[in-house]
């Protein structure tokens, strides 16, 4: 062994030691911003998402949360599950409230993460205008939608995010109609069309979720992440199933993990390997689906997944 390679080895070793120390320090500093004691249902997917958002965002963050499950379960006066400064004002305005916070911080010359959190109702439906406006104004904030595919807090009513054929209390299964008639709104693409960073995430792929939050927070201006958050009650699944169902959603291609950055699509995991029936049959909200309907869902999923994959392969700037 010559002197040079020995030096190199020692240097590498030193670096590795330093890195281990850094990781250890980071672990020691690991911060929990959304803590136990909240009133979310056992096995709630959204609560898992909250914990990871708060943990990755860290202490130097302000949360603007929309009315909905996560607000209701975490802020019962005089208790709070948040160790981060948090404001809730109404249902449709998480992004508008965040805009005000962003402006105030700019005036105070403070560099703090501003994170707006809303469910799919507060994002796809009633919160859409405020979200679109805030992005158009180039406000510096990250909007995270915990997508449980219906109005769960009010007792499972259909939203613009609810997939076709889903049974909800306002799209019930009957002799004539089999659940919701319409397909799910393609929200991450709609947001991406504003020209900002937009991504999907899953609580079954945590390192990917963490990386996306970190990446988004480092980008100046508006950012959007939609995280699938299974609702045990609304989806009629076992309390222990949220993670597994989330994983199946990615593996069946129903909820692919992708990013749109600088107008270009990137499919993070091309792992669509299972038929949608495996995902659908695990959930009570889809139990009424017949073979024809399952085939229809499969066709739609193949079509959308194929399009995302194509865009990802071609690397064309679409927005």
């Amino acid at each position: 062994m010559n002197g040079y390679s020995k030096m190199k080895r020692i240097k590498k070793l030193g670096q590795a030691k330093k890195e281990t120390k850094k990781i250890r320090e980071e672990k020691l500093e690991e911060f929990e911003g959304f803590v136990s004691g909240h009133n979310a249902c056992a096995g709630c997917g959204a609560a898992i998402a909250m914990r990871h958002i708060a943990r990755v965002a860290g202490r130097n963050s302000i949360i603007s949360i929309a009315t909905g499950c996560m607000e209701v379960v975490s802020t019962s006066y005089p208790l709070t599950a948040w160790k981060l400064p948090l404001i809730h004002s109404a249902f449709e305005n998480a992004a508008a409230t965040a805009s005000g916070i962003d402006a105030a911080l700019r005036h105070l010359n403070k560099k703090t993460n501003v994170i707006a959190i809303a469910g799919d109702g507060g994002t796809f439906d009633i919160g859409f205008q405020a979200l679109s406006g805030a992005i158009e104004r180039n406000q510096n904030f990250l909007f995270i939608c915990y997508d449980n595919e219906a109005y769960m807090n009010t007792g499972i009513q259909r939203s613009g995010s609810t997939p076709r054929f889903t049974e909800t209390t306002t799209s019930p299964y009957g002799r004539v109609l089999h659940g919701k008639l319409e397909w799910k709104k393609q929200m991450p693409f709609i947001v991406a069309a504003h020209g900002c960073y937009s991504a999907t995430a899953s609580i079954a792929f945590l390192s990917d979720f963490h990386a996306k939050i970190k990446k988004a927070l480092a980008i100046p201006g508006p950012k959007f992440i939609s995280v699938l958050a299974p609702c045990t009650i609304g989806w009629k699944i076992q309390n222990s199933d949220a993670i597994e169902i989330s994983r199946l959603a990615v593996q069946t291609g129903i909820f692919p993990l992708y990013e749109v950055e600088n107008g270009t699509v990137k499919l993070n995991f091309d792992i669509k390997s299972r038929p949608v029936s495996e995902y659908l049959k695990r959930q009570g909200r889809f139990e009424h689906l017949n073979d024809r309907e399952i085939r229809e869902v499969q066709k739609k999923v193949d079509e959308i997944y194929g399009r995302i994959k194509n865009l990802s392969n071609l690397q064309i700037k679409i927005f």
């Binding site: 019962s76 948090l86 404001i87 508008a96 805009s99 005000g100 105030a104 205008q129």
Partner: protein
């Protein structure tokens, strides 16, 4: 020290200015950190002026050009929660759209100040003045000031910040001017300097704010065991505001030689009056002219101007109403199915007086001296509520 009325005063330092611009100038002197702007007639000139001042570097505020009035108030709530001063302005449908957030701003005890150019509500759509927009927000928990002229609007903005931001009040304020009739009126206004306002209005520093150093949860969910306590505290704060409004008015008067009655109400020739007109806003100036004319003919009539509609001047009215036999309440709004909203309140405060209600000037219909005279002729008549077209 003698304090002159808002309409008198030193003519030397006056500037000919549109009322909307006067409001924008006063706002700039209060140095709000965040201003949310959204256009709606007849308020638009106010935010246009602020945007212009911002582009010229005259104000240091962050301007957010929101996409709706709902978001305007939401943005003010978010910013004010960070512990900074905010401002917005609106009218009519805009006030109706942000109504949800008005209740939340006061419930969260955020002392936002909003200028309102009062305008009729749809339908039928109408862009002209009446008070139906802010009367519909009577119970929103905002302090409401109705101004008679541009000078009062200018002064009231500065007073509103001081009143709202008091620790035992912490409630938002609306400073209302009659749309077009006043908002677009050019008048001589005596301007204050930055040093004047800085010495009058302390720096805003709330007890609680969104700060990553000291995390707090704002806008929590209150169960039935606590909700009522929050509302009681809001009501207590509203009632505290009565004395603070009076004190602030007096302090303002002592410093800048302009005073508006006792802050809650302003009276004109009421000392020996047997009859009184009760009104709000710009119509009071017309009433003063008519009263002068009738006084020359020997009629003992005076004016009670309601300056603060919320909190309502109950005690102040009771104090002066003793000798007044007949009252005419002029309402520029109608609570459909009952009577004018101001009349309902006055009647509840003065149950023993003979009070007539006149519904006038809806949707910008002109209120001329002739109309006021015809109202005065009908004071004391049997018919309680009358629409004067």
């Amino acid at each position: 020290m003698q304090i002159k009325s808002g309409r008198a005063g030193n003519k030397d330092a006056r500037k000919m200015i549109e009322c909307s611009e006067a409001i924008a100038e006063a706002t700039a002197l209060c140095k709000p950190a965040v201003v949310a702007t959204y256009p709606i007639t007849p308020q638009t000139h106010i935010v246009e002026m602020l945007a212009k001042m911002h582009s010229e570097g005259r104000v240091n505020s962050e301007i957010i050009n929101v996409e709706s009035e709902h978001s305007a108030m939401s943005a003010c709530i978010g910013a004010e929660a960070c512990g900074v001063r905010t401002f917005t302005a609106s009218s009519s449908q805009g006030i109706a759209l942000m109504s949800e957030m008005l209740f939340i701003a006061s419930g969260m005890r955020l002392p936002i100040v909003m200028a309102v150019a009062n305008r009729a509500l749809s339908a039928p759509i109408n862009i002209w003045n009446d008070h139906s927009d802010t009367m519909a927000q009577r119970d929103a928990g905002w302090l409401q000031f109705y101004c008679e002229n541009a000078q009062e609007a200018y002064d009231s903005i500065i007073q509103a910040y001081k009143i709202s931001e008091q620790k035992d009040i912490m409630l938002p304020s609306m400073v209302c001017v009659d749309g077009f009739t006043l908002s677009h009126l050019w008048e001589p206004v005596k301007m204050l300097s930055q040093a004047d306002v800085d010495s009058f209005l302390p720096v805003y520093n709330p007890l609680y704010k969104l700060d990553s150093e000291i995390p707090v949860t704002m806008g929590a969910l209150a169960y039935p065991n606590t909700y009522m306590h929050f509302k009681k505290q809001q009501q207590d704060a509203m009632l505290n505001a009565v004395e603070v409004i009076k004190k602030t008015n007096l302090e303002f008067g002592k410093r800048f030689s302009r005073i508006y009655g006792n802050g809650m109400i302003e009276t004109y020739k009421i000392e020996d009056a047997k009859e009184a007109i009760v009104a709000m806003g710009s119509v009071c100036s017309t009433a003063r002219i008519v009263i002068d004319r009738l006084r020359q003919k020997g009629r003992k009539i005076g004016l009670i101007k309601i300056r603060a509609f919320r909190p309502f001047p109950n005690e102040e009215l009771k104090k002066i109403a003793g000798k007044i036999e007949k009252i005419a309440v002029i309402d520029r709004a109608i609570s459909l199915g009952n009577s004018g909203p101001l009349f309902i309140e006055i009647k509840a405060t003065l149950p023993k007086s003979h009070i007539n209600n006149f519904i006038v000037g809806l949707g910008g219909r002109d209120i001329s001296e002739n109309i006021i005279e015809s109202i005065v002729k009908k004071i004391g008549q049997k018919q309680e509520i009358e629409w004067v077209f």
